[in-house]
Symmetry: C2
Subunit: 217 residues, 2 copies
Amino acid sequence: MHSLAEENYLKTLFSLSNDKAEVNVNDLSKRLGIKMPTVTSMMKKLATKKLVHYESYKPLRLTEKGKKEAALIIRKHRLTEMYLVEKMGFGWEQVHEIAEQIEHIQSSEFFAKMDELLGYPKLDPHGSPIPDKNGKMVWSAYSKLSECKKGDTVKITAVINTSEEFLKFLNSREIHIGLKLKIKSIEPFDNSMVVTYDKRNAETLSQIVCERLLVEK
Amino acid sequence: MHSLAEENYLKTLFSLSNDKAEVNVNDLSKRLGIKMPTVTSMMKKLATKKLVHYESYKPLRLTEKGKKEAALIIRKHRLTEMYLVEKMGFGWEQVHEIAEQIEHIQSSEFFAKMDELLGYPKLDPHGSPIPDKNGKMVWSAYSKLSECKKGDTVKITAVINTSEEFLKFLNSREIHIGLKLKIKSIEPFDNSMVVTYDKRNAETLSQIVCERLLVEK
DNA sequence: AAAGAAAGTTCGGTCACCCTAAATCGAAAA
DNA sequence: TTTTCGATTTAGGGTGACCGAACTTTCTTT
């Protein structure tokens, strides 16, 4: 249906749109590692396919159709990550790169089978929600660790904006989905938090890290 | 390393070379569904990469390097087919198309893991040998069913030149790898064979079918 | 051996996707 | 309000992978 390049633009635009209200050509360009003029022309192309609303000098917006297509690609990505971890024994920090490629496989049977074998999971191994077959994605009512108060005890349910470096960092601190931790103190100067859990007595997490950890109480 | 297109040329040239002594531009062109001028120019490109020996108007030959690369792609294809059948529950006639895409995934860990989970198989679900990590492929001493004599009792060990139609045909006759059958008679006119086995008492197989079934005695 | 057919090559073109350099727009600062 | 500067688009190019048309080589047939 769509080319590999188109799928990557769609998916990335979708992800960026979830992170911030307005996504610019520049943002997309940086994230994809593709120069702005190329991004502009691809946006025009996707606009003719009714996948994005494009107006010169305006922020980029996906159409409903575009959102659905993008969500379906992300569905494939997250199902794949889940499968790699659950059924093949990969570590959660290894699977992103492989899933990045497998998400472009064209075979609904293949992904339906994964879904079935995994028992129709709702979250991927990083805790991000897996969109359903219609591209609907339901975020549970998670809050960011950075928004919690001193003394709170919370359970980590998801990790956002996953990069391999970040995942390695979490592993090195033995932090994983499902971990319960207590907030000992919050440093007013840089908003870093000192937390205790299971295996660590006083671990300091920077604000950047706290922004990326979703928790429930 | 190589582009998707290059990989497809290599793989196809390798397969055709196993079927017949000399492979022409025309053969490759037909098999790939790509016009001859395009094939010619790709051959020149692959020649500069030392993957094929190319001389104008001469048959096409892979270099040793080219053979190895091709075998490694076929390894990925066949491992994938095996995995899809054994670990995901697909039918053997469904897996070719999916494997056709997954064979291009770039991740040695991914295929190493498949190999491990499958217990380092030697044959794919169609009975074709899986090249090893160094691109070495060992064909057992199979013979074609079409080369057997009246009265022989043989076991089917592999299927060559698999197409979905052919696999469906075999399924419809309940013919599968491992099946033992006896040759009742051979029709001299068209070299078709009448065979008996397990569930069928007198099944007629055309020469085309018999050419594609590998057996051991 | 000459003619005709088939196979292979050469020679422009096209399309997708990427680039740099230069022009233009728009928002924030002077 | 004018300047300035970053963001954006336009213009022009490049490469990979494909094509058709026309030409050349090789094979086949007579």
